[in-house]
């Protein structure tokens, strides 16, 4: 069935959130079976930045909820949103 690529937008709790630490925590929170394939900061507004995260996983894994949940639990994360999904 191939590999699925998923784009996620991670919003911090405040503009003062330490983005380097947040990115490092994201790296460490990626669940087993999911590969981190890209991470970049994106300026939103009024000093706020989001982290755009790209991951891949097998199509057979069935959804990206485990990644969304794992990233949502990181201290300092306000929300996690899927921005895009497709086959690799």
């Amino acid at each position: 069935m191939g590999e699925v690529i998923v784009g996620l937008k991670v919003m911090p709790e405040s503009p003062e959130t330490n983005m380097e630490k947040l990115k490092n925590d994201i790296k460490n929170a990626i669940p087993k079976g999911v590969k981190l394939r890209g991470m970049s900061e994106k300026y939103i507004a009024f000093g706020l930045k989001a982290v755009d995260v790209t991951v891949t996983m097998p199509d057979s894994a069935g959804g990206s909820e485990n990644v969304e949940n794992a990233l949502s639990k990181i201290p300092g994360v306000s929300s996690v949103e899927v921005t895009g999904t497709g086959l690799l």
């Binding site: 937008k9 300026y43 507004a45 069935g62 959804g63 899927v82 895009g84 497709g86 690799l88």
Partner: protein, 425 residues
């Protein structure tokens, strides 16, 4: 030279009908397969004394390269035609990814439905599901690529094309596609028939090539004429600025100075300033991801899942709503009283299936059963839904981006659907 208009193109269809091969062929024929992949292949082919170009090898090499590569982004499949610049979304096979397609922010502007004409293929359960999904996603422009014409029995025969076309036509009509706007094209992605130039093997076909059907698409207009709807993603208190909600404008236009209301919070305020990236902007239009400073509200008044609209045309918070749903996967049966979680824009609310009104025949769209006792995987039905707490949802016909939802339960995407009517409070 001015940049070409951009389109997001989603490829849908049964997993074995050649979706990925069609995408690969398109990338190869439009010249976006990296030169080093082709060169490497030429060398290997020459070593083995092979003269013919083996498409499957290039597909494998590309796949390997993508899997091996370190960084990649969701919009990694891009190609150009003479008119447009396309980004391809190849729909995953697993149903649990349907939620991502519905709530994801990268909207498809057009869809290519790939249906195999090989013997025993044609319209399959997944074809039906994906057609329903395309409709739910609000994709109105559709190309039907009838693929594997080389594997029809006998190969490339017109009758098989017409038979498959007729079956697909019936299916499309059931979900409400206007058939005269749908483009049908016979192809063989594997053998490169009718992809960029007319094929000798399909002489009987006088219509467009696959690439021409893509150029016939139109860039959808931004829904600026619709009422303003901006689902809130997060809310911040920013020192020196004040309360700043963040979100994406789905439809309408929001300007600085506008009087707005957040629903279902039922809190009103006035937009002071709007920012996108590093800049202050006078107005935000559909597709813009913005932060905006609101006078008259505090962070605790509004939250993720609330929707912003103008005070004189507020977002709808219904008592109940009527929906058309497709049951994608459920281990047993769904009866009245079932209460899964509805994912609609940025909100997640448990909703009750209060009344199962009608079961539809997926082949004809006609009512198959009035007041069914239960629904099972594969059923399409009209149901009455009651949210367990206030939520914003709109009639899909009036405000498409806020009328679709995915239904989740037990860690699975159980169903997807559209709101077709509203019972106001």
């Amino acid at each position: 030279m001015a940049e070409k208009p951009h389109m997001n193109l989603v490829f849908i269809g049964h997993v074995d009908h050649g979706k990925s091969t069609t995408v690969g062929r398109l990338l190869l024929e439009t010249g976006v397969v990296p030169a080093h992949v082709i060169e490497e292949y030429r060398k290997k082919a020459a070593e083995k004394g092979k003269a013919t170009f083996e498409f499957a090898w290039v597909m494998d090499a590309l796949k390997e390269e993508r899997e091996r590569g370190l960084t990649i982004d969701v919009a990694h499949k891009r190609f150009d035609t003479s008119k447009y610049y396309f980004t391809i979304i190849d729909a995953p096979g697993h149903r649990d990814f349907v939620k991502n397609m519905i709530t994801g922010t990268s909207q498809a502007d057009a869809a290519v439905l790939v249906v195999s004409a090989a013997e025993g293929d044609g319209v399959q359960a997944q074809t039906k599901e994906h057609v329903f999904l395309a409709r739910t996603l609000g994709v109105t422009q559709l190309i039907v690529a009838i693929n594997k014409m080389d594997a029809a029995k006998p190969g490339y025969n017109e009758k098989r094309y017409n038979d498959v076309k007729e079956d697909v036509t019936k299916l499309l009509k059931t979900v409400g596609y206007k058939i005269d706007t749908v483009q049908f094209v016979p192809i063989s992605a594997l053998k490169s028939d009718n992809i960029i130039k007319p094929s000798e093997n399909i002489k009987w076909f006088k219509g467009a090539t696959f690439l021409q059907t893509l150029d016939n698409l139109k860039v959808p207009e931004k829904p600026t004429a619709l009422p303003l709807r901006l689902p809130v993603q997060d809310v911040y208190t920013i020192t020196g600025v004040g309360t700043v909600p963040v979100g994406r404008v789905e439809c309408g236009v929001m300007k600085a100075g506008d009087k707005i209301i957040f629903q279902p919070a039922n809190v009103a305020g006035e937009v002071k300033t709007i920012e996108m990236h590093h800049e202050q902007i006078p107005q935000a239009v559909p597709g813009d991801n913005v932060g905006f400073n609101v006078r008259g509200i505090s962070k605790k008044d509004v939250k993720r899942g609330d929707v912003v609209g103008h005070s004189d045309n507020p977002p709808t918070v219904p008592k109940t709503f009527t929906a058309q749903v497709a049951i994608l996967q459920h281990p047993s049966a769904i009866a009245a009283g079932y209460t899964p979680v509805f994912h609609c824009h940025t909100s997640q609310v448990a909703c009750i299936f209060e009344e199962l009104q009608k079961k539809l025949d997926p082949k004809t769209g006609q009512v198959k059963e009035e007041k069914p006792e239960f629904l099972k995987t594969g059923d399409i039905a009209i149901v009455k839904i009651r949210p367990t707490r206030p939520m914003v949802i709109e009639k899909a016909k009036d405000i498409p981006p806020l009328g679709r939802f995915a239904v989740r339960d037990m860690g699975q995407t159980v169903a997807a659907g559209l709101c077709i009517d509203i019972e106001k409070k």
